[in-house]
Symmetry: C2
Subunit: 724 residues, 2 copies
């Protein structure tokens, strides 16, 4: 493993392609490095000039007085591989490649990019890029990039009064977006440690940098921007490591829309994978998604200031001096999924002494301008924070003028020291610089949008709850079943119909082995139906007709010998019309399932993330709204229950409008079993559909009504879903 | 009608309760008025001082040298009515009441508030408040309020280089929020005309001020913040007037959540009405809802800059020099409901000459930093704006430094002059002040969040489309039917069961008059079923059991004399068990309806907005998701179709997964008929349920399967929904 420390903490930097032209990017990068008090050496490397921006220039990296720790390559793409090779030979252990024109540009570029990876491996070099914009190590005052955000004129690299005690690092595939975080965060006084832009990620990926920084232990909050994850297993491993360490990964995933992912493909030339699968992986590992700069920075501010006292639940107390602004905040809390409960009687009694008659103590607590004028913000926040009815407090303030808060500062500091609950500030006016400093000094996060404030509190509550579920448990089936199933799977055809799939799945406790008889004539069908009694279903079994219902090859609710006999002919006819050359193994005769809620359960392989478990509420919800959610395998019972809760129609399972609640526990158990089955045999399986599964009333279990397994081709884990 | 002009354009202002103490609100208001170059006279009125802040003070409003045009009342609540009376007697025609302690404080305050209204009527005075924060007329340099946003130190009242050519007015119930708009809009250079805060609206409401400003014709965009609308009919009339004039009303509706509306009630003591009904009214009249300051200001900026060339559709072209930022914008567009289509071949060919090989022309057009460096932003925007594939353009820029844009300015100006499509700018870095000015000068709206930019474009497209539907047509039934129905309704009992409701509704073309026979014994039921043939339904008819299905008083799909007979006994038993003292009129025997999509249609009365039409897709979607939408009555056919399209499950009606499309046209026709019925007889009707309505395949119409009319008590239009 190459040493990322050489890249981020160099004692010397070579700028290969450096220029004296300050209007060119090759001139700008050197100018910017030199404008900051970086303590290491800087070597311009230029073919044509012997002096660049007043420094002695070297004709080549092998002509340097000593091997540089890192080489910044900013030369035309076609020269990059040779230059990198030269760096390797010269003993340079790290490089950042800023040149464009690689995988984003087609075959030739793609080959050059692979060459870069090969050279990096050969010399064990830590290489970022190509198509990156360089990096900054703010702690070392090293800005090895040409971003305007690194310009000395843009302001100090480290704020005088940072929010919270921790540091933030940005790791972004996009250079422009990566450095824009620094720019946009400046009014909010975030203390950045690193900004790394990874571009096409020929060698080092975002996860590699996160891993390094977690080991280093100096980064408390990560801001990530990813177009596509190249090494999913590494990503998941590092994400779990971050979650265990309690270092939140705040992530912007760009390219989620059709046009966006089209642009990703042309931009960094990697497969974007499905947005739903990304979200599933993020949810599993506690990555917190933000949809724009402001949302991501709000989250960073919240975690930096209150990461040591995240909300234990979703109940918020709101203090306000502006009735209207308080109401707006209450609405924003509700929209974010927080609760704004009426406060307990004791708290309200305590507040009565401070709130004028035309204010209110219920929640939002409207202390009115007069109340705040008299007692300050801190007094109200303290009383509300003590209430057993809330898990966190939002104080609505006007931060335009600092004078008033200045007076309140000692009390604000006391409160921040004493409380175990997060206290957030939202200013409905634009904050003065000094106000931000005062609040940072006192230890409060300041938000300027109500939704950013409420959303951050809600996501911090989620993050705390998810960490409470650590470590993730995985329950697997006994080893004996595993090897037996493995052999059966090996022997099975590619498309495993229900009558063959059931015994396989039953070994893991999924559904019953008993499929009902497979019949080959109308008379056999009628006899089987009679033996079963009551209403029956007929289902054609053919490896060539995986979607039986759409083919008309299923009939339900039949009774009586004549109807069953006629049904048998009808489903066979339909099957033959649908797929004339289909090989038909027979027709299953089954008792109709007991009533309950219809659910779709499945497993399929995402092109990036591999095997994913899918659950959805069946029928019209899936048809009209695509109400399904995914999780990466494997999943534990708590994860299964959390997944079910994320369905839009989840309440349909929970006992709704007087209907008895469904056996959600049995559904979660089934999900774990299916996860285990697919996880144990991932190399053989492309997709599994259990559709439908009927979830009966509580304590009455579930019925797996149909099952289909699609084996993968050539043992690759790639595959299409058989769902739909 | 009192003259709002006297209030907003006074030649003289009396400040009643003025003080020399600049730390009190009573001192601040006078200080602020005097700090701006207001050309009128200012009269301090004080009981105790003869000189206030260097001005001669008067002991009472009747001691002024001349009647002031407006009196600002900032005295304790209990003195307000007498003071207002004194103003009236002294010939003062307008007043703004800033004092708190009225309806928000209980019975006594409520009575005082009513007194204010009475006095205002008596003297025909234009009165805003109480519990307001005053107003500003920026055009007259009059800041009659104590908001810090009006402080001279906060910056110039009118920006040097405003965005667009138009003016914005803010009218807000909340004082704090109202003036915060000015504060938050300052970096964006909006030219404000008025900020009016209306508080408890004892006399003048938001709609009164909008009406005045529409007549005045100088306000181009309105920013409204409402807690609750007091006079719905006036509000609707003024909203339609604004829509016809093409002056967008951008509205923040606070108090939409439970906690929020609880706080509204205690804050301004008015009934908040249902959030869904507000949304329905906003949608009908083209009010554009923003959920926070930034969203509302983004909308204002968009309309001010591009109100004369709103997008004719939802297709956007994106130009970017940062691949990552462009992708993020594409995602934001998709999330906002815009399309980002691949550009036409001719446009792409034209772009090829400008875009380097490692960029892309598909859309987003990634010109790369090099491309923009060479040709500027305007060139790319011009080429994309000409494409027939797009209705608007978003240019992704970095606005940190103005120098580059400065060079591009002539071309940017040309483009803004020539194009008929909106061209928006989004900066992913924080803009420099000068950049905002340059873009304003050139005529472009600048956005700092991708979602704000995309959302504004989308809402402008919607606004244009809605105006295209003007004038709203209302088709009513012939007068003959109306009077006949009126008489029948008058004679009917309060709870009108299906068998009595059908003839009433059929007069308006709703469903069929034929209810099937009403039977009174099992034998009669069996005979009726036989006569009908096929499967039948049995439904108990009782004014005491409006929710038959929940009571078990309905059976479906019966055939055969025995089953029908048994069914008859069963539904009667269930009805009697459910409501032992129920009066039962009989049991309807009906043929089962043909298959189709189940829809719920209804009318009910909202406490604020009166009669609302409701449509929802039935079954699980309504149960799990409450997938219903509302519209105020009356509704025309285009409105009905637009309403259906807003259902989450709308695609279920539109032919989905190979199922034939449903007869949406017939459903829209039915909605118009129901609307007409309820509109014509609004004074008699509390609620109507048509549940379910079955929408058959295209051209095959609809079946109204059940119907219930609930008459209103005492001819008031108040009432509860019978739905559910």
């Amino acid at each position: 493993m190459p040493d990322i420390g050489k890249l981020l903490w160099p004692k010397s930097v070579a700028v290969v392609g450096a220029s004296s032209n300050l209007h060119s990017l090759r001139g700008r990068i050197l100018e910017i490095i030199l404008s900051h008090p970086f303590a290491g050496k800087v070597f311009p490397v230029s073919r044509s000039a012997s002096d660049v921006q007043g420094l002695k220039a070297y004709p080549s990296v092998d002509a340097l007085p000593e091997p540089a720790d890192v080489a910044m390559l900013i030369v035309p793409a076609q020269y990059v591989p040779a230059e990198l090779e030269r760096c390797g030979k010269a003993g340079i252990k790290a490089a950042a490649i800023l040149s464009s024109g690689f995988a984003e540009e087609g075959d030739l570029g793609n080959r050059m990019q692979q060459e870069i990876a090969t050279i990096a491996r050969r010399y064990d070099m830590a290489v970022s890029g190509p198509n990156s914009e360089g990096f900054s190590n703010l702690a070392a005052s090293l800005c090895a990039n040409f971003s305007p955000a690194s310009d000395k004129s843009a302001g100090p690299l480290i704020p005088l009064q940072p929010v919270g005690r921790g540091q933030v690092s940005v790791i972004s595939q996009s250079g422009g977006v990566g450095f824009a975080f620094i720019d946009r965060a400046r009014p909010r006084n975030l203390k950045f440690r690193y900004v790394v832009t990874t571009g096409n990620e020929a060698v080092l990926e975002i996860a590699d940098f996160v891993d390094y920084m977690l080991d280093e232990g100096e980064t408390d909050v990560f801001l990530l921007l990813t177009e596509a994850v190249k090494s999913p297993e590494k990503f998941k491993r590092v994400a779990e490591k971050a979650l265990r360490a309690g270092k939140p990964l705040i992530v912007g995933k760009i390219g989620q829309s059709e046009a966006g992912s089209r642009a990703v493909a042309s931009h960094t030339a990697v497969l974007a994978g499905s947005a739903a699968a990304y979200r599933a992986v993020f949810d599993r590992y506690g990555l917190i998604e933000g949809r724009d700069f402001d949302e991501m920075l709000d989250l960073a501010v919240g975690f930096l200031a209150c990461g040591n006292r995240m909300p234990a639940g979703r109940r918020v107390g709101i203090c306000t001096a502006s009735g209207g602004a308080g109401i707006w905040m209450a609405d924003a809390c509700a929209a974010a999924g927080l609760e704004v409960p009426i406060l307990d009687a004791a708290t309200r009694r305590a507040l009565d002494a401070y709130v004028p008659s035309y204010g209110t103590t219920q929640n939002p607590v409207d202390s009115t301008a007069q109340g705040v004028q008299k007692f300050g913000y801190a007094e109200f926040a303290r009383l509300v924070a003590r209430s057993p009815s809330v898990d966190g407090v939002i104080v609505v303030i006007t931060a335009r003028r600092s004078a008033f808060l200045e007076g309140d500062l000692p009390k604000l500091k006391d409160l921040a020291r004493e409380t175990e609950k997060p206290v957030f500030m939202w200013s409905y006016t634009l904050p003065a610089e000094r106000t931000v400093e005062i609040l940072n000094e006192a230890g409060y996060p300041l938000f300027t949008t109500a939704h950013g404030c409420a959303g951050t509190l809600q996501k911090m509550a989620d993050y705390r709850a998810l960490r409470g579920r650590l470590p993730f448990r995985v329950e697997t089936a006994p080893a004996a079943d595993r090897s037996k199933t493995k052999a059966m799977l090996a022997a099975a055809p590619r498309m495993i119909c229900e009558y063959r799939a059931r015994p396989l799945l039953a070994a893991y406790g999924i559904g019953s082995e008993n499929t009902g008889p497979l019949v080959h004539s109308g008379d056999e069908a009628a006899a089987a139906a009679k033996a079963i009694g009551g209403l029956v279903a007929l289902k054609v079994q053919s490896p060539d007709i995986p979607h039986k219902t759409e083919a008309g090859a299923v009939m339900l609710n039949l009774d009586g010998a004549d109807r069953v006999r006629a049904g048998y002919e009808q489903v066979l006819d339909a099957a033959r019309r649908h797929t004339p050359m289909a090989h038909i193994d027979g027709v299953l005769v089954q008792a109709m399932a007991r009533p309950g809620r219809e659910v779709i359960l499945g497993v399929h392989s995402d092109p990036t993330w591999g095997m994913m478990l899918m659950v959805g509420i069946g029928g019209v919800l899936v048809e009209a709204l695509g109400d399904v959610v995914l999780a990466p395998l494997p999943i534990d019972r708590a994860g299964a229950l959390a997944l079910i809760a994320r369905l839009k129609g989840a309440q349909l399972l929970g006992g709704f409008r007087g209907t008895p609640p469904a056996d959600v526990g049995a559904l979660a158990d089934l999900m774990v079993k299916l996860s285990n089955f697919a996880f144990d045999h991932a190399e053989r399986i492309s997709a599994i559909d259990l559709n439908p599964v009927i979830v009966h009333a509580e304590q009455e279990g579930i019925s797996v009504v149909d099952a289909l397994i699609v084996k993968s081709d050539d043992r690759s884990s790639e595959g299409r879903s058989a769902a739909g």
